[in-house]
């Protein structure tokens, strides 16, 4: 288990704006994903845990060992932290063969045991045939597996992965996910994974920590975060939401309904606890729960007329982008059925509306 409270400040310079990391979190077994856009402080967090960067304040505990404590000036050097680190570009030593790369990481062990362990790792990660090759003679997938094996060979208490899927094509990405799931099952090492890819959070993440501008803005299972983003910023970060500025016109806790105004239209939603009449809110709706219909006459309840601006084909669905920054995802057959529509209505299922 890792428990971290990290504060690190970089003052603004002549050619850089300042940055401050200020987060506190805890991660247990399984995969914890650090999610955020670039510049949110994700990699910096990993570097603080691995000991490459010394925080200004805070404390980092790994199991029962103190890795860093500002108050008592404890700062364990990187080599003694027992954190495996898989770097973005793998950082396999180019002048060593694969086997030597692994041996380098296991050098603290007696020779015979080291040899056995390296052989076992090479087998486990399907690298035995290429063990004598140097990194530049390997495929992307082999390099990736080798860097994960190298990080694991010292039996680390925590595995840190810095955007391991960045720049990989789809098959390699799928291979990586398989390897990482295998690692989670076989080694039981807690994993801290940095990514800005939401799909990756869902593929691998047991827990998700959302970072924004150096702060932790939400945590929870990926499903929960996606279904209930804690703020407009998180919803924007997740990137797959319709966000509409609205004003609350009526609230009825008894019947669990509310009435909100969006532009010139009124929509019915669920009761929003903690909100008052007249509050300005952001309505948050995922594109796949909205319905798009042909417009025949006046809009019905919870329907808003909209103008289709663009159609974006996606692998599993079709995204229709309407005026007013509204997006609706339809299944392909549904879209085919409706593609002749001249004018459109968008229907908002009342229970799908969330207030932020």
């Amino acid at each position: 288990m890792i428990l971290a409270r990290i504060r690190k400040r970089f003052p603004a310079g002549p050619d850089s704006t300042g940055f401050a990391l200020d987060i506190e979190f805890q991660a247990t077994a399984g995969v914890t994903v650090l999610f955020g856009s670039s510049g949110a402080g994700k990699t910096l967090t990993l570097d603080c845990i691995a000991g490459f960067v010394r925080p200004d304040e805070g404390r980092i505990l790994l199991d029962d060992e103190i890795l860093f404590d500002a108050a008592t000036e404890v700062h364990v050097p990187p080599r003694a932290r027992h954190c495996g680190y898989v770097f973005q570009n793998y950082a396999l030593f180019p002048h060593m063969t694969l086997r030597k790369n692994l041996e380098f990481a296991a050098e603290r062990r007696p020779r015979l045991e080291r040899h056995k362990q390296v052989t076992r790792m090479l087998e486990q990660f399907h690298l035995t045939e290429v063990a004598g090759r140097r990194p530049h003679e390997l495929s992307g997938g082999q390099k990736q597996r080798c860097s994960i094996a190298r990080a694991l060979i010292g039996a680390p208490k925590l595995l840190l992965l810095d955007e391991p899927a960045r720049g990989l094509d789809a098959p390699l990405r799928a291979e990586l996910y398989t390897v990482l799931r295998q690692v989670r099952a076989d080694f039981g090492t807690p994993i801290l994974l940095v990514t800005h890819d939401l799909d990756e959070c869902f593929e691998l993440g047991d827990e998700m920590l959302v970072l924004r501008e150096g702060r932790l803005v939400q945590s929870g299972t990926p499903r929960k975060v996606l279904e209930q983003p804690a703020s407009v910023e998180v919803a924007r970060l997740l990137g797959s939401f319709n966000l509409l500025a609205a004003e609350i016109l009526a609230l009825d806790p008894g019947r669990n309904v509310s009435l909100v105004r969006v532009g010139e239209f009124e929509l019915t939603g669920p009761y929003f606890p903690g909100r008052l009449l007249g509050d300005r809110i952001w309505l948050c709706v995922r594109p796949e729960v909205l319905a798009a219909l042909p417009r025949n006459g006046k809009p019905g309840p919870n329907q808003i007329p909209a103008q289709l601006m663009r159609v974006v084909e996606k692998p599993q669905s079709v995204r229709l982008e309407f005026s007013g920054d509204l997006a609706v995802d339809l299944s392909r057959p549904e879209y085919e059925r409706q593609r002749q529509n001249k004018e459109w209505l968008i229907e908002f299922p009342p229970q799908a509306l969330r207030a932020l």
């Binding site: 691995a50 680190y85 770097f87 396999l92 380098f104």
Partner: protein, 227 residues
């Protein structure tokens, strides 16, 4: 024409010894300058560069003062080795050392700095001590430009004149290196000897520089290569 091969032999021996010492000393200084932050780093950097810009006579004078028979260092040397340093072939080594070390430090520092920090981070993360990091990762990755730098240092040691003549003098058969011998031959009107030595030393330098150029391409695992 009777040619005395002693100066050539002495020069090669002096250059080889000076290069060996300069490589050890230079790598240490270069690593320090490339990887450590300490007080007085700029002063050290400037001091290392100084021999590149000062006239050889100035350097020679400094060394005479510092290593002369009356100086504390000179006395220590005399106590250890039983004789003075100045006007011996060992003094020629010291002269060559001062001539070549700055060059080696500059090139080796650039070589060390061109090694991707990612590899050093990885090595530390994998439990390597600073010593193991240097010997197993940084040095092997920077070895080509360092070999090139050592070759250059050798060529430069071979050609030192100013410091050598001030510190080691011009004693035929004892401290007379090739460059000093050429000067001597020209002064005494021995054109044939001067031409022969000039041709030989130019040839040797050319071979060494070609070798250095061959070794010069970007080091393994340089920043560009690692992306």
């Amino acid at each position: 024409m009777q040619i005395d091969w002693f100066p050539l032999w002495l020069s090669l021996r002096v250059a080889a010894l000076a290069t060996a010492i300069a490589t050890g000393l230079g790598l240490w200084l270069a690593y320090l300058l490339a990887n450590r932050n300490f007080q007085g780093k700029e002063v050290l950097d400037a001091a290392v560069t100084l021999p590149l810009v000062l006239p050889p006579t100035v350097l020679g004078y400094f060394l005479l003062v510092v290593l002369g028979r009356e100086s504390p260092l000179g006395k220590v040397y005399e106590w250890i080795f039983g004789g003075p340093l100045v006007f011996t072939w060992q003094a020629a080594v010291v002269a060559a050392l001062f001539h070549s070390t700055p060059l080696l430090v500059k090139s080796a520092r650039a070589a060390f700095e061109s090694v991707d920090r990612g590899y050093e981070k990885a090595a530390r993360n994998l439990g390597a001590s600073e010593g193991r990091l240097f010997w197993r990762v940084t040095l092997p990755l920077a070895r080509r430009p360092i070999f090139a730098a050592a070759a250059l240092a050798f060529a430069r040691s071979l050609g030192d004149f100013g410091i050598t003549i001030m510190l080691a003098g011009n004693i035929p058969g004892r401290t007379q290196t090739v460059s000093v011998a050429i000067y001597d031959a020209v002064e005494s009107g021995n054109g044939a000897l001067a031409r022969t030595l000039v041709l030989i030393i130019s040839g040797v330098a050319l071979v060494i520089l070609t070798l250095a150029n061959r070794l010069s391409p970007a080091p393994l695992g340089s920043r560009q290569a690692a992306g």
